[in-house]
């Protein structure tokens, strides 16, 4: 076989051919013959490179030099300069529009600038279905350190010192929880991971399980060693099939390597991990209900005490934490409690993951140090409000949380400040609202959710939320009476103080916090029968401004119920009796003659 010293690749795709690549090829052949290079240089016709707007394309190997928009007139120069003298013809080179350095790094774009990724450290950068990538990035190093350098008491002391608190909403100190369970009498203890993330608008745990399942498995194994558990369960919502699949793969890989199972790394410590799929009940996010569900019963909560640390799953002492909490554990062990405690505020250490959604430009998942303000999250990371609408407030903590108004936007995010503001950390849903969101309607939305998810075991929650929902629905329909506000407040306080579990205790929060900050909206609905955000359709009135109406008939034709009448080129009228307030005429009118009040 004959050796050639260079290849000239000429694109023979349709587009390049039509811009003259055939001629380029022919001239190349002639020029090579002229310089007696035809034995040394081979011309190859290639398929389309997809760079058609830059054609005809010529690539010369071995250098791989990429020439664009080559005309037959350019060819003699290319042959002489590049192939004979080895000099690159700069004027024909493809100029890359950007170089690596011109592209901002993740740290430099606004969305990431203020973020600090601890629990999400590997999410989006490793392949979650390959344990080797996790190990290559220091995975299972924390477990290794724990098994060979630390006693179980050391582990608990370290986690206590780090100041880590439960990320599932309650904010109970994690190390303390572990210690209670460790001190409970009994040989058989269970470790549970709560991955029943049910809050609408929250998907932090799902992202961790899908993106970095080993961080949860490692965190759980460390906790099991600290507490003295032999067996563990991860309770995942069935609505997260991808998370379940990735977890199953991760567990199988860890078992195969001997990082789960009998005698891990020859240390004598053994730990088995199982997955339990939930079956669609929000209340199972409550720890005692979750354990009932693992046992195969209706997921209903029970009275505490006894706490799970004393008597939990199958009546054995059990420890339960959520996904994000466990995902923090191995980093704390590896980098030390002091490092972790160096982030955040005095009482809330470390970082928190939030799902940022609603009327915001950059929706997504963010992890920020505790103590950052809502303003920073919404306007710097989130890029502000969609369109040029007015920011009204932010709902934090889902159905258990509350609304924080624009006046309190500089509230630092930590467990205590949020509770003081009438909201709570919750699991981390952050829904941003603008002027078009009606706060009464939003409260009704959340109550509708908690009401339908109430398990029905205790009266305050079962009956109380139902009554509150009825009142709120009435208000949204314009049938509210002045006493309703007091009744809502009274009912809310009673439910908060008497319900059996966290679902009931927190169910009134969305109502109470909107009553606290947006009482005027409730009053407008009740007294003036008016929805300031124009969101409650029952309270809207559509009329036509006769000055502006030109009688074009667009609204008349569009009205689905024939409520609009009027002669051509004469001002039209809306019959309020017939109007169903669908808003179609408002959208169709080009003269802005339809008024929405």
């Amino acid at each position: 076989m004959q050796l050639v010293r260079a290849h000239v690749l000429v694109c023979g795709g349709t587009s390049c051919t039509s811009s003259g690549s055939k001629q380029v090829q022919e001239v190349f052949q002639k020029e090579l013959e002229k310089h007696k290079l035809e034995q040394e240089v081979k011309i190859v016709e290639t398929g389309c490179h997809g760079f058609c707007e830059m054609g005809p394309l010529v690539i010369i190997y071995p250098e791989g030099t990429f020439y664009v928009r080559v005309t037959p007139e350019d060819v003699p120069e290319l042959v002489e300069e590049h192939l004979l003298k080895g000099r690159i013809v700069n004027r024909l080179l493809y100029k890359a529009p950007v170089t690596e350095e011109q592209i901002p790094t993740y740290k430099e774009i606004a969305f990431y600038r203020k973020q600090l990724r601890v629990a999400l450290r590997n999410c989006g950068s490793i392949n979650p279905e390959n344990i080797q990538e996790y190990i290559a990035r220091g995975g299972y190093e924390g477990l290794e350190k724990v098994l060979f350098e630390m006693s179980p008491e050391d582990v608990i002391a370290e986690v206590k010192r780090s100041g880590l608190r439960g990320r599932g909403g309650g904010g109970f100190p994690t190390g303390l929880k572990w210690e209670f369970c460790r001190r409970s009498p009994g040989d058989l203890k269970y470790l549970i991971c709560n991955a029943d993330e049910g809050d609408p608008g929250a998907f932090m745990d799902r992202s961790v399980l899908e993106g970095d399942p080993h961080s949860v498995i490692e965190g759980m194994t460390i906790a099991a060693y600290g507490i003295g558990c032999r067996e563990g369960y991860i309770y995942v919502r069935a609505e997260y099939p991808l998370a379940i699949k990735r977890l199953k793969i991760a567990i199988a890989q860890a078992e195969e390597l001997g990082l789960l199972g009998e005698n891990i790394l020859g240390s004598g410590f053994s730990f088995d991990l199982h997955i339990k799929e939930g079956a669609g009940a929000f209340v199972c996010g409550e720890e005692t209900a979750l354990m009932a569900s693992i046992e195969g019963r209706r997921g209903m909560p029970r009275v505490r005490p006894p706490f799970p640390a004393q008597r939990g799953l199958w009546d054995k002492p059990s420890n339960i934490n959520n996904v994000e909490t466990y995902a923090n554990v191995s980093v704390i062990i590896l980098r030390g409690a002091d490092w972790f405690a160096g982030m955040g505020t005095e009482k809330s250490k470390g970082t928190k993951v939030f799902a940022l959604t609603g009327k915001i430009n950059n929706t997504g998942l963010v992890e920020v140090p505790m103590g950052i303000t809502l303003r920073e999250i919404i306007f710097e990371i989130g890029g502000g409000i969609v369109g040029d609408k007015q920011f009204k407030g932010v709902q934090i903590g889902g159905p258990s949380g509350g609304c924080i108004p624009v006046e309190l936007i500089d509230t630092p995010i930590d467990y205590e400040s949020l509770i003081a503001a009438g909201a709570m950390m919750g699991s981390g849903g952050l829904v941003v609202m603008d002027e078009t969101t009606c706060m009464v309607d939003l409260a009704r939305f959340f109550l509708n959710f908690t009401q339908s998810e109430s398990c029905g075991k205790c009266t305050p929650c079962r009956e109380g939320t139902k009554r509150m929902l009825e009142i709120l629905t009435r208000i949204c329909e314009g049938k509210g009476v002045p006493e309703d506000i007091d009744t809502l407040e009274r009912l809310g306080r009673v439910i908060k103080g008497t319900a059996l579990c966290g679902l009931g205790n927190t169910a009134p929060n969305p109502v109470l916090s909107t009553l606290r900050y947006f009482r005027h909206e409730y009053e407008a609905h009740i007294m003036d029968k008016r929805c300031p955000a124009h969101a409650c359709s029952a309270l809207l009135v559509f009329t036509i401004d006769e000055e502006k109406c030109i009688g074009c008939g667009r609204c008349l034709k569009a009205c689905p119920v024939g409520a609009i009448s009027g002669a051509k080129k004469e001002p039209h009228k809306i019959d309020p009796e017939k109007c169903i307030k669908c808003g179609t005429c408002f959208e169709k009118c080009r003269q802005n003659a339809i008024l929405r009040l």
């Binding site: 608008g201 195969g296 209903m300 799902a355 959604t357 929706t363 829904v431 939003l442 939305f445 959710f449």
Partner: protein, 163 residues
């Protein structure tokens, strides 16, 4: 067993075998009722009364408890469902971006309400609290396909693709 005495279709025999295998794989495992119900629903598409009674017999759990669990969780269905499941997200993000209007229009298009099935078994309509893709809100999901950034007018064209 078939009550009318006719010969069983091969499909039913196959399903019964699968159910047997399911019982075997969970025999003696504690807390197995929910996984068994999930498995049975995967076989039959819903949970027929006879199957629930069979589960009670096989597991030794009283039928009242089996029914109690099956009716408690939203995942379980006690009546047949349509060929296409339409799930309208009414999560918070979808709510503030107009999910309710989408839901209204879907109901109009399909002429059924929440948790109902069309008489021809073509569609079952459900709502969910969050599909977890809030960046695309408002969202509906038909079977495994997600349709995001919706407007009510787009729905007709989407639904027509599912037979």
């Amino acid at each position: 067993m078939c009550e009318c005495g006719c010969t069983q279709p091969a499909e039913d025999v196959q399903k019964e075998r699968e159910l047997e295998t399911l019982f075997e794989s969970w025999r003696g495992v504690k807390g197995s009722l929910i996984p068994i119900l999930q498995g049975a629903q995967a076989i039959y598409g819903y949970l027929p009364r006879e199957v629930l009674l069979q589960i009670a017999r096989e597991t030794g759990i009283p039928p009242s408890r089996v029914f109690g669990v099956a009716t408690f969780y939203a995942q379980f269905h006690l009546s047949p469902r349509g060929r296409n499941i339409v799930r309208v997200c009414l999560g918070t993000a979808c709510h503030v971006r107009g999910g309710a209007r989408i839901f209204e229009r879907v109901q109009q298009e399909l002429e059924i309400g929440n948790n109902e099935t069309t008489p021809d078994l073509r569609f079952t309509l459900e709502t969910v609290a969050c599909l977890g893709c809030c960046g695309l809100s408002p969202v509906i999901m038909v079977n495994d396909d997600t349709h995001g950034r919706l407007a009510p007018d787009k729905l007709k064209d989407i639904l027509v693709n599912y037979q």
